[in-house]
Subunit: 348 residues, 3 copies
Amino acid sequence: MQIAIKEIADLIKGKIVGDSTLTISALAKIDEAKSGELTFLYLPAYEKFFTNTKASAILVKPEFEKSRNDITYIEVNEPDKAFSSLIIHYFSPSFYLSGVDKTASIDNTAEIGADVALGKNVVVSAGCKIGNNAKIFHNTVLLENVEIGNDALIFQNVSIREGCKLGNKVIVHPGTVIGSDGFGYKQDEKGVYQKIPQIGNVIIEDDVEIGANVTIDRAAIGSTIIKKGVKIDNLVQIAHNVIIDENSVMSAQAGISGSTKIGKNCILAGQVGVVGHIEIADGTILTAQSGVSKSIKKSGFYFGSPAKELKTAKIIEAHSRNLPDYYKRITQLEEEVKRLKEKLNNNS
Amino acid sequence: MQIAIKEIADLIKGKIVGDSTLTISALAKIDEAKSGELTFLYLPAYEKFFTNTKASAILVKPEFEKSRNDITYIEVNEPDKAFSSLIIHYFSPSFYLSGVDKTASIDNTAEIGADVALGKNVVVSAGCKIGNNAKIFHNTVLLENVEIGNDALIFQNVSIREGCKLGNKVIVHPGTVIGSDGFGYKQDEKGVYQKIPQIGNVIIEDDVEIGANVTIDRAAIGSTIIKKGVKIDNLVQIAHNVIIDENSVMSAQAGISGSTKIGKNCILAGQVGVVGHIEIADGTILTAQSGVSKSIKKSGFYFGSPAKELKTAKIIEAHSRNLPDYYKRITQLEEEVKRLKEKLNNNS
Amino acid sequence: MQIAIKEIADLIKGKIVGDSTLTISALAKIDEAKSGELTFLYLPAYEKFFTNTKASAILVKPEFEKSRNDITYIEVNEPDKAFSSLIIHYFSPSFYLSGVDKTASIDNTAEIGADVALGKNVVVSAGCKIGNNAKIFHNTVLLENVEIGNDALIFQNVSIREGCKLGNKVIVHPGTVIGSDGFGYKQDEKGVYQKIPQIGNVIIEDDVEIGANVTIDRAAIGSTIIKKGVKIDNLVQIAHNVIIDENSVMSAQAGISGSTKIGKNCILAGQVGVVGHIEIADGTILTAQSGVSKSIKKSGFYFGSPAKELKTAKIIEAHSRNLPDYYKRITQLEEEVKRLKEKLNNNS
């Protein structure tokens, strides 16, 4: 694959500084790029790699100091986004699955759309509906009445339980479980936990992507709902009756307890936990490992367990680090006050 | 489905206030209920939905102010538990799996009980024993000598390794792994980790329910034991040689390190972590994200990382939030003491 | 199985104190051992079981007080390591999988080494290469061009996506996902997340062991790399472009964000989280639940969220517990200073 650097510069509306006749063989990270390859520079932490990168061309911000002459620059305002556009344009992966494998099991009440691909040992149970052009990889199991939208991409070893509904262009990575029972019990008179049947389902809207080994529980009653455009990373837990509103993202190992509503455009960083029965305002950003125990009504950054506004949390953290000093100062004050009292008593 | 409200009231020993000739078509949450449906009100946070709920009938506590005339009330002391009873009575799901699928693989040394259902591609290895009326869903794999009790319900894509034993009425949700090797190594003279074979197993007693994508490691030697009636939520980690005593519950993403013993009737909230080789007293409640580094000998509520008694943790948290104020007061005290000293020196 | 205690003592270079004609039937933990069995004592917390253990023989340190006469001792400097050696010597499990099952699906462009065992419904896609003597258990799926080294042991229900490469003697436990897409998006002008194709892969070097239900994402571009001898526990998350250097270990539920580099010989305890784009020095030890937000340049113990040097964290923790006392002392100081000021004003 050889791409003219002029074609690349046109595509990302960038300005070439250097050899405009260059051709590019691949895209690579700045610390891994080889001769002939194009890279980019965006985060300051990676500038240290600029001196020695073997890349032949690099996307940089216009103000970047172009101290090397043996490399061709393309100036662009957002080098990271421009680089992503190039990956999307030239390297979008195609997944080699087509047709319905003879080992796939399809109940004869299931409705299968046009151009659907079903891998080996896929199980499509009674009443399922699969949209056009959907791909479902090997060993994935759909129980009864599951619906999958058009252009969905469901990887291998995924489990979707009865009655769950996935929209168009939904992506589900391997090992994920959708529609497992919510964690609901009532204690009997002896304190023994009795299971409350979980008779709801899970609804996943269009353009949602769900990582690997995620768990999304079915509602106790009604639906657990993941709205349009939500992105969920690996090993995330979503409990019964949770609602995650449009365009929110959840990083790996975050967990949301039952019946909580996450607003639109929220960002939950890794290992965040949110208790049940609360609401998180649109646009809230929960930084890593935060633990949220109360509703958040005002958008902004939050941190800590229990979570506080990030600014407040940082101030408290700074003061905490000074505690040994404060302790010394209190002790010294006590001594001085004692001396003052003695002196005053002597004086009077 | 139409159920007379009188039948419902009799079932939960409640008192009808309103139209006792009503019939109910479904159960629903208060904010989602439609006309003809029955809902309930228990948590104060949901009272705001009362004004506009479209439900035709509602379970409430006797003291609840019945301000709407267009809705029928059933008074009952514990509306949430009564509602659960109704779900159990009328809506317990039945799972559509029966018989042994022709793609299931059963070793001819395995013993299969009466009325066992095995889904597609299920693997039952040599020496396995499956109890009467057990259901094992598609693509689940049992390695050698696994035992499954009567009435067990094992969902799809579950992995159970050799020699593990599950009791009667055990439920295992999709993607869960039982009997993986414990995390045990010894460093050789060069500091390289050498694997210690994990030659024990996992024993899961009757009435245990295990969520989705849980991991329970086999013992290094002896058994990892989950006792009668324990309930385990999704993505929980249980390390080798852990013992969890009867009727304890563990919420999602909690993790227990090796050889630790959790007492009876404990509650571990979400994302709790417990170190290895300690004991947690019966009836201990660990609130969300707590990190327990020492044995807990006295039952009660604990919070924080490292975990403290919840009351203590709350007091410290409150003081932490006041640290900026304490800092100001210390600084002011220092100035005042300085002035006092000067004044006293001038006076004398 | 009967093993002469003299053979055992020779093997671990220990000294018998007691009956040197004894034979041993099994190894067991001190609190579970039965007559005829050999146990060991290492952690002080387990000494309480010594009085009542039914074991016939016990490995102890030379200085251990041998107060019971009805038990045979073997003195050895490191009883825990000696015990592990015995497990490895006598009890290493063999896994009962041999040959290629007729339900395994092997693309005819795949290269399969000598003495490979493939379980039921295993999928080996186009371009895959499987090394000699590798065992791959039931329902595991390898997408295109996956390479597996010699003597690899891959358990059931594992998902390995296209292009990932595993070295020799790699062990992967059930339910683990290798090569899922990294969590990478760019927001378009409307703030909607657009997927950045993840076109890299995962490289796992020799002697790596990976637990159950782990997720390791493929690189956005280039490779996510797990180097020689790394050990990864259950439910760990490793994001795209992470590099974990040789001989490091990660306990259960830890998570590493994108592009971070973990040094050699590091230990990450359970539920640790590390942000993206940072570097952790060789030999760093992160204690349980730590949250690391900045590069660590100096090896040592770290704790807390945000993580600090363990010594510092412990000092701050101790001071935090004293906050109620500090508060009292500040308040008392204020009162005393007030009184002093009044007195001084009265005096003057």
